[in-house]
């Protein structure tokens, strides 16, 4: 049965940074690509660590996931457990300040309370790196900025209670903080990156599955690339399908305005944007989230299949 799996189990979350799996799920896109004799089982998660746990335990074969859990999973398993095989989303995180906080310029962050979604996650690391770059230190490093990892809904509440001055938040929360929490966009994270691109979601495959079933993975990646192109060329329709699928899974659609606003901050892509991830990993290590020794991330990526497909399609391969 080598090379031909009967069931492929794929994880995703119902979230706007997961456009490909959501739209794919809704349209049966991947089913067509992998063929009749492969059955797709979608598994929906609420958060990255649970998906990595499932990947570790062999309960799923691949998953769409953010960069931070992917790095953690890779490092925890000494590079054994997983490979990043393609990108999915770029952008979609912003630094939002409360309108009446009086923050106008980076120096105003001295002595402030700033939230991130979770200790050591992508936005948390970005926030800490950005503060450092502007000569500010967090309290635990002897500075005066208080970085508070807080669940996104709580950030909104605390914005309204005026207990929080700013937050580095992913979409759609950045938009919600602005619209519902009396917030103001201070910085779109894209402005910090070359070409405004940095990875927020990619496709991760279990290393074992990749070894055992390269064909299946390849078919999947092909469909993924095609779907990415389709979404980019049919954005309004794709957004509608995405929102429908989110509603189906969470019982609640995003307001159209919020969806549109959020999409202006992110981009759907198959490029894994490796450089942005490695930079982020370095920052993460500097902030102390990756142990005492900078881990070797050399085998984190396996983009040979992606490049084969890109070449097949006459597109530019990724270095």
């Amino acid at each position: 049965a080598q090379g031909n799996a009967e069931v492929i189990r794929v994880g995703a979350y119902p979230n706007i940074t997961h456009s490909q799996p959501m739209v794919g799920k809704a349209t049966g896109w991947f089913e067509k690509a992998v063929g009749q004799n492969v059955k797709i089982e979608w598994k929906t998660f609420n958060a990255g660590p649970a998906a990595i746990e499932a990947l570790f335990a062999g309960a799923i074969d691949m998953t769409y996931i953010g960069p931070n859990p992917a790095i953690q999973g890779y490092v925890r398993s000494n590079g054994e457990a997983l490979r990043i095989v393609a990108g999915a989303t770029s952008g979609g995180a912003s630094l939002v300040v409360r309108n009446d906080s009086g923050i106008q310029k980076p120096e105003d962050f001295h002595g402030r309370k700033v939230a991130s979604p979770q200790q050591g996650n992508t936005q948390d690391v970005a926030l800490r790196a950005w503060l450092l770059a502007h000569g500010m230190k967090t309290i635990d490093k002897g500075g005066d900025v208080q970085v508070m990892p807080l669940a996104n809904p709580d950030q909104l509440t605390l914005f309204l209670k005026k207990e929080l001055d700013a937050a580095w938040a992913p979409e759609p929360w950045a938009t919600r903080l602005i619209k519902e929490g009396n917030g103001r966009l201070f910085l779109d994270e894209r402005d910090l990156w070359p070409q405004g691109q940095f990875i927020t979601c990619h496709l991760v495959v279990s290393a074992k599955f990749l070894r055992d079933h390269p064909e299946v993975v390849k078919n999947w990646i092909r469909a993924h690339v095609e779907l990415t192109d389709w979404i980019n060329s049919h954005l309004p329709e794709a957004k509608r399908i995405l929102n429908q699928q989110i509603q189906r899974e969470t019982g609640k659609a995003l307001p159209a305005a919020e969806l549109d606003e959020a999409f202006t901050h992110l981009q759907v892509t198959y490029d894994p944007l490796r450089a942005s991830l490695l930079t982020a990993a370095k920052a993460s290590f500097d902030a102390g989230f990756l142990g005492r020794k900078m881990p070797d991330l050399s085998s984190l990526y396996d983009i040979t299949l992606l490049n084969q497909i890109l070449v097949e399609k006459g597109k530019k391969a990724i270095q």
Partner: protein, 253 residues
């Protein structure tokens, strides 16, 4: 009759207060949801069947998981209460193991059972099993000595002694423990349903929180409370009332 009257007054005041607070708009509605917002959430959830499905799915898991906990927990509790070795070893760990939050069991559940119903059941069982065990052990130990003596004197041995004497004699304890176990089971179910998205009420609750949709959170809370109320009334309260009548125990003074 008077009971119903009291309840009408109570719930009336409760809702009235909520209504007034919501009307006063001290907090914005997405933080402090309004009764009509919640009613709308409830209506929508039942209309598109998602609440019915969630209730069905979650109740099935509760019945299975809690049922297993009750049976295993009783056996284990009895074993711990009657066996010196078990008492000195696991006996000392019951409370502390029961204190472990469900989050500790999630990785094991996924490891052993994958993303299946069994994994959720495992979390529910691990969350409530030892609660029942504690109650059973305590019931067995704090039971007046005379019952055990009378039972053995009349020829009850082994399983018969357990079933006809020790179990009924410690029933007042056990019923109280089963209520606690029920609460633990619910809480664990909610955690278990967070392993992966699996339709249940826990999922709806999580979604509500993740989207900061407080109306949905409150709507699910109301569902959980309603289910608990019904189960409490139909099962626990009935058993308690029968116990009190049979044993002639203290009514409120």
């Amino acid at each position: 009759m008077r009971r119903i009257g009291r309840q009408v007054i109570f719930y009336g005041i409760l809702f009235g207060l909520w209504f007034v607070l919501a009307k006063l708009k001290i907090w914005p509605p997405y933080i402090f949801p309004t009764p009509w917002g919640v009613a709308e959430s409830l209506g929508a959830g039942f209309q598109d069947h998602s609440f019915w499905i969630a209730i069905g799915v979650s109740m099935k898991r509760m019945l299975l998981g809690y049922g297993i906990s009750v049976m295993l927990g009783m056996v284990l509790g009895l074993a711990v209460a009657s066996n010196k070795f078990l008492e000195d070893t696991i006996g000392g760990l019951l409370v502390s193991l029961q204190s472990l939050p469900s989050i500790c069991w999630l990785p094991l559940a996924v490891l052993w059972f994958g993303l299946t119903e069994k994994a959720i059941l495992f979390v529910v069982v691990m969350g409530s099993l030892l609660s029942v065990t504690i109650a059973m052990e305590d019931g067995r130990k704090q039971m007046p000595k005379i019952y055990g003596m009378a039972g053995r004197n009349l020829g009850a041995r082994g399983f018969k002694l357990f079933w006809y004497v020790l179990l009924p004699a410690s029933l007042p304890f056990i019923v109280s423990g089963l209520k606690q176990g029920w609460a633990f089971a619910w809480r664990s179910l909610i955690s278990g349903e967070m392993i992966f998205v699996s339709l249940g009420l826990g999922q709806l609750l999580m979604m509500g929180r993740d989207l900061n949709d407080m109306s949905q959170v409150i709507a699910v809370m109301i569902l959980i409370i309603a289910i608990g109320y019904i189960v409490d009334g139909l099962v626990f309260k009935t058993v308690e009332r029968r116990l009190q009548n049979k044993w002639g125990l203290a009514p409120a003074t």
